[in-house]
Every structure is written in structure tokens, then in C-alpha cells.
């Protein structure tokens, strides 16, 4: 299964005005790989994964997703976005639509599935994340953990090849983090390619194939999860691990 590179990031550079946000990022992700990206806030990790589905534009370098290079061509961008799903820190569910309609929106309008088919799939996915009984409710009626599980189900609804997670548990109360991580761990076992920006080191140890540490817009260290936590090579990673593990 682990064969071709599904994401290739070559010499990626991004500036916000004068600020150099990403510096010469090189990263290759194989199909089915689970990659966890961590680092202090402002290190560019969110910016990096937001470049993958072109929510952020970049000025230099190239990103190739599933054989298609990202460019200003909006058709190609939409094509890539239809295969890459994203889960956000603040869920970003659509408050004016109920849960089922949130899930079926992209399948119906982007993938041109018929309504009945899309709804059946949505309900089975809600079943999988354990909130089938909330299908007719509106997002604001659910707890944060439930909303994030809906967001994951929504992301899965289009059968994406790649899932991007942008700090999915950072906005949640502590008692709700576990229910979201459980869903993500289940997902990781199914062989979908995942790029996760997260500080949940337990999650990284359990399912990641590689863990990447970023600081000041650069990739500082990359390793398998066993060595990443036990034998950090760079000073900055040691410091970072000390800080988050001592909590």
C-alpha cells in the first residue's frame, strides 16, 4: 500500500507581506501515511497544511497533490479540494444547516451524488462517529466534541484520499478531547492518508508513521514516533518536548 508519493512539497516558501512564514519546506507523503506535525505556535505548521489545499497561497516552490501541481488554475484547485478534506480547529460547521445537510452538501454539489445516496452515506458515517441520533439537530445544539465529530464525518463524506487536521482538539474542553481522538485513531487504522497538526502526543505515539517538528517556519526534525520522543536530536525539540510533556 505504501508506494507512490501522494503529496510532494518541494522548496516551499511563503511570505505574509514581509514576514517569511515558511522557509524551504520539503516533504513527501506516501499514500496511507499518517504524519503528525507539531511545534510551538507561530511555527508555520497550520500554514503548511493549509497550503496543501490552497487555502493559503505560496510564492515559491511547488506542491503536487495526487499528481496535480497546485497553481492559480481554479479548476485544478477545486479538483484537488474535492479529494482532500479538512477538519478545522473551530469545526466550521454550517450553522444554518442541520447535521445531515452539513454532511451531504459537498457530495451533492461537488460530487453530484443523488440526495438519497448521499443521505444514506451521511447517516452511516454519523453512526460511525457515534452521533446518529443527532442527525436532525443543528450544530449549535451539540457539544464541542460532538461538533468536531460531525466535522470529521463531514470530511469523510466525500471519500477523500487525504485528510488534513488543523489542531482538531485545541478548541475542546479536556473531557471532550478523548472522544475526538478515538474517532481519529479509528480512522488512522483504515489506511487513509492523514496530515495532522496537533499537540496530542499520545495520538502521535499511537498511530503516526512520522512526526515532524517545526519552528520558525522550518522543519527542524523528522523521525518515527519512537525515536522522536525518546531521542530528540535538536536542542529546540528537546526544549519543546520538555515543555509539553511536563504539563
Amino acid at each position: 500500500m505504501m508506494g507512490t508519493n501522494i503529496i510532494e512539497i518541494n522548496d516551499l516558501n511563503k511570505w505574509y507581506g514581509e514576514f517569511h512564514a515558511l522557509k524551504n519546506i520539503n516533504l513527501k507523503v506516501k499514500e496511507g501515511e499518517i504524519i503528525v506535525i507539531c511545534g510551538p505556535s507561530g511555527s508555520g505548521k497550520s500554514t503548511l497544511i493549509r497550503c496543501v489545499n490552497f487555502l493559503e497561497k505560496f510564492q515559491k516552490g511547488a506542491i503536487i497533490v495526487d499528481g496535480t501541481a497546485l497553481s492559480d488554475d481554479i479548476k485544478k484547485i477545486r479538483q484537488i479540494r474535492s479529494e482532500v478534506s479538512m477538519v478545522f480547529q473551530h469545526f466550521n460547521l454550517f450553522p444554518h444547516l442541520n447535521i445531515v445537510d452539513n454532511l451531504t452538501l459537498a457530495p451533492i454539489w461537488v460530487h453530484h451524488k443523488n440526495k438519497k445516496e448521499a443521505k444514506e452515506k451521511a447517516l452511516s458515517l454519523l453512526d460511525r462517529v457515534g452521533i446518529r441520533d443527532q442527525a436532525e439537530k443543528y450544530p449549535n445544539q451539540l457539544s464541542g466534541g460532538q461538533q468536531q465529530r460531525v466535522a470529521i464525518a463531514r470530511a469523510l463524506c466525500t471519500s477523500p484520499k487525504i485528510m488534513l487536521f488543523d489542531e482538531p482538539t485545541s478548541a475542546l474542553d479536556p473531557e471532550m478531547i478523548a472522544e475526538v481522538l478515538d474517532v481519529m485513531i479509528e480512522l488512522a487504522k483504515e489506511g487513509i492518508t492523514m496530515l495532522c497538526v496537533t499537540h496530542e502526543m499520545g495520538f502521535a505515539k499511537k498511530v503516526a508513521d512520522r512526526v515532524i517538528f517545526m519552528d520558525e517556519g522550518q522543519i527542524i526534525e523528522e523521525n518515527n514516533p519512537r525515536d522522536f520522543f525518546v531521542k530528540p536530536e535538536s536542542k529546540r525539540l528537546q526544549l519543546f518536548l520538555d515543555q509539553i510533556l511536563s504539563k
Binding site: L55, S82, V84, S85, A106, Q141
Partner: protein
Amino acid sequence: MATFEQQTAKKAPNSEIGFAHWLRKNLFSNVTNSVLTVFALYVLYLIVPAIANWMLFDATFAPVNNEQCGREGACWRYIIEKLDLFIYGFYPAEGYWRVQWVLILALVFVWIAKRLKQHQYKLKIIAGLIIIYPIVAFFLLYGGLSLEVVETHQWGGLMLTVIVATVGIVASFPIGVLLALGRQSKMPVIRLLSVIYIEFIRGVPLITILFMASVILPLFFHEGMNMDKLLRALIGITMFQSAYIAEVIRGGLQAVPRGQYEAADAMGLSFLQKTTLIILPQALKISIPNIVGSFIALFKDTTLLLIIGLLDVLSMVHLSTSDENWLGRSTEGFVFVMLVMWIILYSMSRYSKALELKYSTEHKN
């Protein structure tokens, strides 16, 4: 360790419930409040009986002429005699049924649209009605084919008020939405044009625009080329109103969080899909009170049509006060206009509240 028995709920003491408690809590809670209550009651005592006497008990409804009508009460006979003029203006009496049918059709179409609910072709049917209705309504009002033509300068009264306000509201809404989106656009030319249009129109009073539409615009026409005065006024009002609606909707657009745009983008929705399915429904919901407020203002502004010689309901009343058979009855006329306006505008206001409620309860816990 201590344990406690569960207690049963008991009735509240008498001082906390009942009418006496309500009075004390709301009207006589302290000295200032009590004084204000008494003072308010006294003012009401002065005003209410006087108004009631004038409007109802001393008023005349019977078919009499101006002299036989008493001076101490309102002479509603005058309103009844002039009602057709107030409602239809100088529209020929043989054609009143045409105006009535325009109204009946509007009600029927709204009823149909409401009955559809989840019908398969709901959107198509509603779109069809929205396109067909103005054509049918124009044909009925103006005439043509076998119907006798009634020129627009004969239109007037409440009918004209409602026509102008409705056309202004319906036409300005989509234009306003486009302008609001244009002002938010990433394309500099579109953004600049929208900003110039909105800021120019908002910087000019409606009267000026109406003057320009009726006096200056024809100067640019070739000889023999003639544009209907009502049409020019409608264009002017629509231009004016769309700039205001654009700003109201822009406020709503800005209140939609950025995450909503990003989530829609990340799914691969097109710009049109993102705008119509995700952004506008939320932005419009937020804007409902201000949109309706803007429409209410427009409805009142239609009285300015008098300036360019179109006679709305207020102008018709004003005109009829110089009828020598009914001299000295302007108070009745203006009270009548006030009541008609108030009923229409208050209904719009209530409708706005109902809409807000309809779209908000769904999301509350």
C-alpha cells in the same frame, strides 16, 4: 457525614404572585416609579377620551354633506366619499376591478408559494411565479390587447404608493445583493465600481435623484424619444434603494466568520455555490431587521413622489382638501393617511419579527 431528605416544592407566598404583586413590582416599585405611573395615567386621561370622542363617539358616518357633518367630531363621510380617489387616484372607475385582481393574484401566488413547502419543483415554480406575476400585473394595470389602456399619469393614490414601494423593494433587493458582493470582491475593478456607485448614491438625497430622473434625464434623450415618468421614478427609487440595501447586506456578509468561507472553499465548492449555499443564507438572516427597516423607510419615502408630479396617497388626500364641497376636512384626511401607513408599516415590522423568529429558533437549544 450528613444526609438530607429531599424536599418537595411549595407554593410561593402570596406577595410573590397575582395581580397585586404584578402592580407593585412593575408600576409602584418605588416613589419615582409611582409618581411616573400616576402622571402617565393622568396624561392618558386627558388624551384618550378626547381622541375617542373625536374619532368615534362624536364622529359622523352617515351620508350627509359637509355642512350637516358636525364640527365637534370627525367627518368620516368625507373619507368614504373620497375613498376611491385615495385608493385609485385618477384610474377610471370601470377599471377598478383590474387593480383589485392585481392584489388578489398577489395573495393567491403567495398562498401557492407557501403551500409548496418541500415540493420537488418548489424553486422552479416560485421562480416562474416571480417572472409571470409582474407581466400579468403590468398588463392588467396598463392595459393592451383587448383591455383599454390606462396611461400611468392616471395612476395614483394608495395604489401608486404600493406599486412604487413594491417595485422598489423587489428590484432593489437582487441589485443590492450584487453590489454588496461586488464591494467584497477580490477583483479591484468590480470592487471600485461598486464602491463608487454605493457611495455616490448614498451621498445624495432621494429628492435629488428623483429630480434628476424626471428633469435632467430627459435632456439626454433624442427628440421624440420619451420615457414614461413613472418608469423614470421607479428606476430612480430602485437605484437609491439598492445602494442602501447593499450596505445593509455588506454588514451581514462581514458578520459571517472567515471559517465559513474556508470550510466552503476546502470542500471544493465553486464561488457561486459558496455564496448562495453558505454565505448569503447566513448574511441575510443576520440582516433581516435592517433590510426590513430599510424597506419601511422606502415605503415612507414614496410620499416624495409628489415632487415630480406623481400623486401618491398623501398627495391625493392633500389634493382633495381643496375640494370646495369638503372644505376644512384636512385633519380627517391626514389621520386617515396616518392610519393606513401605520397599518402597512407595522405589519411589515411584525413580519420582520416573525421571520427573525422563524430562522433563529431552529438554532437555539
